[in-house]
Amino acid sequence: MDDYLIGVLSNIGVISFVALSAYLLLLTGEISFGQQGFFAIGAYAAGIATALWGWSLTTALVWGAAVSGSAALLVGVPTLRLHGLYFAIATLAFAEMVRILFELFRYQISIDGELIGPNGTDGFRNIRYIFDHNIDAFQFLLLIYSLLAATMLAFMLLERSRLGVIFRMIGQDETLAELQGIPVARYRVLAAGIAGMLAGIGGGLYAHLTTYVEPRIFDIMLGVHSLAYGLIGGLGTALGPLLGVLIDIGLLESIRALAGYRMIIFGGLVAMLLIVRPRGLLDEVVVHKIGRGWRRVALWVRRSGLKPRANNARATGGPP
């Protein structure tokens, strides 16, 4: 694969984590403008862990996810009783606070006669783990996509689990969920924490992919983009946000002939798409239809005896 393609694919993979993070909150009915804050926390925490403390990449990524997840839990509690626009603005305010705090954050250590570490607005250079350990771009791409695949698998399991049903139920009607005996507050904080962790993993990968982070990257633009990805791709399945990222970065950013007009085309397309499909390309209805079609095919295959199966009792099971 050529380097440019690897670069674009790595970018898509990393940004997908923030998009999935915003998507998870959308499932529970909340709009967050602030997932870029947890992305930033994950990036700085993981970067500091490898570049300054000499930790391994795996521990650093786990550490980044843990720090951003805990931050998300801490923010989740006071914003619990906020909804809709109020929640969206509160998360935006939090993420902007994080960004400005990183502009003020200086923590540098001299390593081999060179000052390394976050240096305010100048950013955090030389997160060189993947060079120092001879990990090439393609191997790192594989790492990103295996983590993404694991996350997607978790989302698929979530959609079929009780927890997934509870999340969607809270998203549809919080009062009804509460009346059904679901401790809504606890689940909302849980969702916020998981979403923060996801963004943090993405941030850790991002820091090591680009070897350089600065606070300016984590502005409101990134936050609203990651929210928009889920809505463009569709709210019916976790593949939706991925599709959104793919359309934006994969299709438009990569076609260099469009440079300069990218946003005009993208903006217009998104606006028109949302008129026709207000819950995105892969919304719940489409996902349901695909699932039904898939089950019919599976049934037909079984009936025509092409692929006999012992366990016919589960014939109706399929993607919801």
């Binding site: 914003t79 009607d173 609203v224 809505l231 008129i275």
Partner: protein, 296 residues
């Protein structure tokens, strides 16, 4: 003490423009029950109209002001037609994301027309600052404050003393009921959107004329300042928007003076976050209802 008073006076002046921005924002939100993220960028389009007129024809402040307002209204109507009018009821998030997409579009369009980072904007007044004892007051700041208060009063009168205002308040209260008593909701909403954009355009002109420059970043700046002031003052409240803007201006001016620009921005967000957590209805708003229904 002298510093504190001087900063507070400056803050009131700057804050009056925040208040105007918040006023347009709160009108749109009140009528739509949806957030228009492209509000600031449409004002920026107006600013670019004005700058073009100034650069190519040497237009004076008055002509530029009219151009800014007209530009903002045209962009605002474009946003309303594309992001709000065709959306089904209940698709509040779709409207918001759609307005964000149009924000990107407007910003890119502005950069394509005038590609440099900053362009000059005609000043409001170049007279020396007035002295009141130890305090200095810029003349253009005074004009800004006067215009802002006059416009806020005009909006208040339009809302509470005219038939159109009555119709708008009926729509804000209950769009379906308003429709049933014979109000043409779609037209009234479009007019309200245009009016709010005009108020925003006026605010944009005042800010740009005081700064004497326009950049593509102005759109984001206007959206954020308007949003913060609106939330602090209380969502949907006309006097709240003005008070919220003034408070934001005072807080910013003082924290800038004592701690520098980064802490100024940080303090603004801390105040916003604290208000949302402790008193979501803001200073003068009514208790929050679920502003956007949870169903997207």
């Amino acid at each position: 003490m002298i510093d504190l008073i001087q900063n507070t006076v400056d803050g009131v002046m700057i804050g009056s423009s925040y208040g105007l921005l918040a006023l347009g924002f709160t009108l749109i939100f009140g009528v739509m029950r949806r957030l228009d993220l492209a509000y600031g960028p449409s004002i920026m389009i107006g600013g670019y109209f004005g700058t073009l007129l100034y650069l190519h024809y040497g237009a004076g402040p008055f002509a530029v002001a009219i151009a800014v307002v007209i530009g903002a209204v045209i962009a605002g109507i474009y946003v309303e037609r594309l992001c709000f009018a065709p959306m089904k009821a209940g698709a509040a998030i779709a409207s918001m994301v759609s307005s964000f997409a149009i924000w990107m579009q407007l910003e890119q369009a502005a950069i394509l027309v005038l590609p440099r980072h900053t362009y000059p904007f005609p000043p409001l007044a170049t007279a020396a600052p007035l002295e009141f004892g130890p305090f200095l007051v810029r003349v253009d700041h005074l004009i800004m404050l006067a215009c802002a208060l006059a416009l806020a009063a005009a909006v208040h009168i339009a809302l509470y003393r005219t038939r159109f205002g009555l119709a708008l308040r009926a729509i804000i209260g209950n769009p379906v009921a308003a429709h049933l008593v014979g109000i043409n909701v779609r037209t009234a909403v479009l007019l309200a959107f245009a009016g709010a954009s005009a108020v925003g355009g006026a605010a944009g002109f005042l800010v740009l004329a005081v700064d004497q420059q326009v950049t593509p970043m102005f759109g984001m700046w206007a959206t954020l300042k308007g949003l913060i002031a609106m939330m602090i003052g209380g969502l949907g409240s006309v006097p709240g928007a003005v008070v919220g803007g003034l408070l934001l201006g005072i807080v910013e001016a003082n924290s800038q003076w004592y701690f520098g620009p980064q802490i100024r921005d940080l303090v603004a967000y801390v105040v916003l976050f604290a208000f949302l957590v402790v008193r979501p209805q803001g200073l003068l708003g009514s208790a929050p209802e679920p502003a956007m229904p949870p169903k997207a």
